[in-house]
Amino acid sequence: MSPNKIRQLPTFARMVSAIWYRHYRVYQNNFWTNSFPTVLEPLIFILAVGWGLASAVGTMDGMDYLTFIAPAQAMMAAVYTSAFEESYGTYFRMMVDHNYDAMISTPVGVNEVFWGELLYTGTKGWFFSLVVIVVLSFFGVIHSAWAVLVPFVGFFTAVAFGSLGLFAARLVKNINQFNFFITGVISPLILFSGTLFPVDKLPPVVSIVAKMLPLYYFIDVSRMLTTGRFTSDLYIAVPYLLVVPFILGAFAVNSMNKKLIQ
């Protein structure tokens, strides 16, 4: 054991990217099984709504109904992939496969593990919202070139909802309790955040609350980008989406510290 042989510690960024790469690699091996449903779901949704609901609804918030819900589809893909990945996925990695035990027996610590994981989840959110936007563009519901920025909103959405998933993974006592998280937290967040109808249609009190929900501004901005119809909301929405996911992330990572380190 000669001291001169001691290797330098990898930097925070290097460790975070090693974790990111781990998830990427593992995910790659199951790429199609994992990606297919995420892409298929919005497609089915658009077809069903397109054939059924859209003609009955007519216009919504001054645009045709498919145009209204299209950006929300991209965000929903980001929400689902990240919320599942970081709740069920984290739970399995933690309790069943013991992957985190392996990671943190290296210089990597809990912070690096979960920041790496959230960034990976963000990447998935980016990718899936990109795929959804590309698919939907064939349906003529994307009206502005600004839509190329939607996947970046998808990234931040996924970081935020991945963080919520981590809170769930920290809190559940067993796997069944994730049902509460999905049906009790994620589904209402999706329904009340302007996905299928404008939040303004809700009673005033509810609508104020809805605008404070994490998903509202992500969908709001996405809709501005796919339609090219920007509103003054932009000045709140942009700082919100740049900051809030990372605040949630910081709390989530901190809470995983408490869960994992015993």
Partner: protein, 303 residues
């Protein structure tokens, strides 16, 4: 804190809520030695190891590894450790080589840089033919060897192995022992837990016997046996107890359905055994006897 010990523990404590899993443990590990933890299930061996590999924070006492405090310098310490946890924790969905590549990334190695090391370790653990196999295609013994190979990617100064050979066939066990001895000659310090007395005997320079979080005994294997037991033992079925006269010079122990009589001379034992032709065995005492003596009674009472 300058020290010539690689690991130094003083009055080390670990609590899980109200339960004290490690209760005032003292020991130190010298560079280059193989140090073993022995103890029954639940003794606190894994808990002790987790504190050393900076997985669990300690609940009290002092601990230093490489002269560093695990509460403050966990990454620095872990950078120089190889860890084989009690439960295998490979990435099941990717190949053997990918597992090693990814794990080396956590130490900051690039894939290109580490590839020669991966080839070397796969050969070292006789896993070359499995380089591109999925983890689910490996047997338990192969997985264990892979976890050990993975722990060697960073050329650790201290290798920590929590029951490395539990559940493996004798062939694989001997292979792993040979590899660990080879590492020792290269100057790697080894910390090991095992339930196999033969393994402790084969590999360990010093042993710490632990039960209920407390140290029962610490020393070289031969010394421990010599200091605690007479050199010869007679084994008899426990039913014979009423039929024999036991001189005061003899130490008596009962474990399971067997009676163990310890003495300084084999002739004394032969005399007692004479009426029981074919039902007894006289042999020299070993670690197993020591282990049973130190921990056996407690185990039976608590279970």
């Amino acid at each position: 804190m300058p020290t010539d010990s690689l690991i130094e523990a003083r009055q080390l404590v670990k609590n899980y809520d109200d339960f004290r899993a490690v209760d005032g443990v003292d020991f130190h590990v010298r560079p280059g030695e193989c140090f073993g933890f022995l103890g029954p299930n639940g003794a606190g061996k894994s808990t002790l190891m987790k504190m050393i590999y900076c997985f669990s924070p300690r609940g009290g006492g002092e601990l230093s590894i490489f002269g560093l405090d695990p509460d403050k310098k966990a990454s620095e310490i872990k950078n120089r450790l190889g860890v084989v946890a009690q439960t295998d924790n490979l990435d099941e969905d990717i190949t053997v080589t990918q597992n090693l590549q990814i794990y080396s990334g956590y130490f900051g190695f690039s894939r290109k840089q580490i590839q020669p090391k991966i080839d070397e370790l796969l050969a070292f653990m006789s896993l070359e033919s499995k380089a591109h196999a999925g983890i689910r295609q490996l047997s338990g013994g192969m997985k264990r060897r892979l976890v050990i190979a993975r722990a060697l990617l960073n050329d650790p100064d201290l290798l920590i192995l929590d029951e490395p050979t539990t559940g493996l066939d004798p062939q694989v066990r001997h292979l792993i022992w040979a590899k660990l001895r080879e590492l020792k000659t290269q100057g790697v310090t080894i910390l090991l837990t095992t339930h196999y007395m033969e393994e402790a005997q084969e590999l360990c320079d010093r042993l710490l016997v632990l039960d209920k979080g407390k140290v029962l005994s610490l020393g070289r294997p031969e010394e421990l046996v010599k200091n605690n037991l007479h050199p010869y033992v007679l084994e008899l079925p426990v039913a014979k107890k009423s039929e024999i006269q036991i001189p005061p010079s003899i130490q008596l122990e009962t474990h399971g359905d067997k009676l163990f009589l310890f003495s300084d001379t084999p002739s004394e034992l032969e005399k007692i055994a004479l009426p029981f032709q074919g039902q007894f065995r006289i042999r020299t005492t070993g670690l197993e006897d020591l282990f049973l003596k130190l921990t056996g009674r407690d185990l039976h009472e608590s279970e």
